[in-house]
């Protein structure tokens, strides 16, 4: 392998057969370029897809009450389901193992809120502390609602960035009082939210305070649960299942009734999401494998052609004393040398092309940051070299076995 003389012989052969060398090298380089580029674009597609779902808090379950559509346990259908503080406490206690945070969400829409001479209509939500996590609310000023506010039924509010802009302008709102529903509320925090403008036009208050203003009902509206991420994907699915049957049982809803209660979770969304990603990955791998395979076939063809073209030369070499082994090695070494050089050139060309693309395809083709990790590219290149060598080995061995006299008669 490291015989200097043999390498000189190979370099001479390569440099004197430029067309053949170029042809073989081009096939290999093209194969690896196509692989790297296609695989990279596939990865870019996946990147875009994952970005779409990044903004969601994934370990969340929403429980919304509805109206029953089937009679059950003595109740008529079309019964309105409501959750109250007891339900909240029961769920919280029973599923303590799964739950990281639980909060109701009482929504009051279009409430007129004013500060000094400024006023506007905003939605008000009565929530608990863990609601902050569910909405991925980011505090800009002050603080969010805490457990003490809930217990003491404080008349505190946390206002969105646009609420602050409407009511306070440039004034610092913290500690100021706003009017709503004939009462005054103390502003304790200002938040922002990446979910869009409407998300920043909401006012949050402790749900217990909101309940007491609603003439003493303890209706909690929707329930939002954050489950512990460590229970994992399977755990979340199981949790959701148990939760559903627990609520239906507790609220006397027919287990087969689809409308009494609506439970939606990011984990079931996530499952679809992951299924899609998996399919995408399979397609990408398939495309990658396909191009690699096509590359191997291309190389095999070239190798067969190369050896065929050299049959006579190999016959001459045998007649003047080349052993079959030296013939096989010469052909192999040459082909491995060419595939290695052009393979790596193709690989770097492909990587360079991908990085030159950058994010230019994001707008029109949903391809973000196309890339191939270096190991995959190197692996693919090595595969091509190995298969190229193997593809060269078979015709080389056949050529070495040909009786020199047959090769020489092949005029």
């Amino acid at each position: 392998m490291f015989n200097r003389d043999r390498w000189i012989e190979i370099f001479e052969t390569i440099s004197k057969n430029k067309l053949r060398t170029a042809l073989a090298g081009f096939t290999v380089a093209l194969g690896i370029i196509i692989f790297v580029v296609l695989y990279g674009l596939g990865n870019g597609l996946e990147n875009t897809f994952q970005k779409f779902f990044k903004d969601d808090q994934l370990n969340t379950i929403w429980i919304n009450p509805g109206r029953t559509s089937k009679p059950y346990a003595g109740f008529e259908s079309n019964r309105r389901i409501e959750f109250d503080n007891d339900d909240l406490a029961e769920i919280s206690e029973k599923f303590d193992f799964f739950i990281e945070g639980i909060t109701p969400r009482i929504t009051l829409t279009g409430r007129n809120i004013s500060y000094k001479l400024n006023s506007n209509n905003f939605s008000v939500r009565g929530v608990g502390p863990s609601h902050k996590t569910n909405e991925m609310t980011i505090m800009m000023q002050g603080r969010y609602i805490n457990q003490a506010d809930i217990v003491n039924k404080e008349r505190y509010v946390v206002i969105g960035r646009l609420v602050k802009q409407d009511l306070f302008g440039n004034e610092d709102p913290i500690g100021k009082f706003i009017n709503g529903g004939g009462r005054t509320w103390k502003v304790i925090g200002v938040y922002q939210d990446d979910g869009g403008d409407n998300e920043e036009r909401i006012i949050y208050a402790p749900y217990t305070t909101v309940q007491s203003i609603q003439r003493g009902t303890d209706d909690v509206g929707s329930i939002i649960i954050t489950y512990k991420p460590e229970i994992g994907f399977e755990g979340a699915i199981e949790f959701e299942k148990q939760l559903k049957s627990f609520i239906k049982n507790r609220k006397k809803i027919d287990p087969t009734d689809p409308r009494g209660v609506f439970i939606r979770s990011a984990s079931s969304d996530l499952k679809e999401n992951q299924d899609f990603t998996r399919v995408l990955k399979i397609i990408i791998s398939f495309v990658g494998f396909g191009t690699l395979f096509a590359g191997v076939i291309g190389i095999s063809n070239i190798m067969v052609y190369v050896v065929r073209e050299r049959t006579k030369e190999l016959g001459i070499r045998k007649a003047i004393g080349a052993t079959p082994k030296s013939i096989v090695w010469m052909v192999l070494q040459e082909s491995i040398f060419i595939t290695t050089i052009s393979g790596y050139m193709g690989m770097f060309a492909g990587i360079l092309f991908l990085s030159s693309l950058g994010n230019t395809l994001e707008e029109d083709f949903y391809i973000t940051d196309p890339y191939v990790d270096f190991n995959t590219a190197v692996f693919a290149t090595i595969m091509l070299i190995i298969f190229g060598g193997f593809a060269g080995f078979i015709p080389a061995r056949r050529a070495a076995k040909i009786k020199p006299i047959e090769a020489l008669n092949d005029k």
Partner: protein
């Protein structure tokens, strides 16, 4: 130098086999220039292939120098060919992307001779065939006679015991044929044993002995008075 006893060779042809050589016996002494003659199908090419270790034989024995050449593997055959034999072919069989010098160097490369030494030696043999000035020319830039002389230089460079020539003048005009035969005669005068297959009577007359084959048997084997080529 060459001793052949009761040599048989058949080729399988479907279910039957074609008996090509039917018990040949002959010896070649060192320094002889032997013409092997016969029409096509007489077995002369088969005989030459066996002598050149390019093909195996079925029965009998073939001794080259003091080595019995008997069913050997390809690697061993390649080494013996390299060491004992030089080949000259009708169609020259030069490697067309290598120049004259590189072609002549090749047997030495397979002998493992160092680069410097083999180039010196090859140049000397090119000089012997009168083509030193053409060392750096590709075969496509040479005439037929020149190509054959390069091929002869290549056959000689490994200093073989025997030179085997298969219709060496078959592709040449009569004038060039004579020049090439003159070269072969000179090499023979230098003491080299040469076997030459031909179907041209006048070429055969330039050798010192003629062996005639017909249907796989030797029908005539006689020493003749050698004619000078030029």
């Amino acid at each position: 130098m060459i001793r052949i006893e009761n040599l048989h060779k058949s080729y399988p042809m479907g279910n039957r086999s074609l008996h090509v050589l039917k018990g040949l016996n002959f010896n070649v002494e060192e320094g002889e220039l032997v013409a092997i003659m016969g029409s096509s199908g007489s077995g002369k090419s088969t005989l030459l292939n066996i002598l050149g270790m390019l093909d195996n034989y079925d029965e009998g024995s073939y001794t080259l120098g003091d080595v019995l050449i008997k069913k050997m593997d390809e690697t061993k055959a390649a080494k013996y060919r390299n060491k004992f034999l030089g080949f000259v072919f009708q169609s020259f069989n030069l490697i067309n992307y290598k120049n004259a010098l590189e072609n002549v160097v090749l047997p030495l490369y397979y002998q493992g001779v160092s680069r410097k030494e083999r180039e010196e030696k090859a140049l000397k043999y090119l000089d012997d065939v009168g083509l030193k000035e053409w060392a750096n020319h590709l075969p496509t830039e040479l005439s037929g006679g020149q190509k054959q002389r390069v091929a002869i230089a290549r056959a000689m460079v490994g200093e073989p015991k025997v030179l085997l020539a298969d219709e060496p003048t078959g592709a040449l005009d009569s004038k060039t044929s004579k020049e090439v035969m003159d070269l072969i005669q000179k090499i023979n005068k230098g003491g080299k044993t040469i076997l030459l297959v031909t179907h041209e009577e006048d070429i055969a007359q330039m050798c010192s002995r003629i062996v005639r084959l017909k249907d796989g048997v030797i029908v005539e084997d006689k020493k003749i008075k050698q004619k000078k080529a030029l």
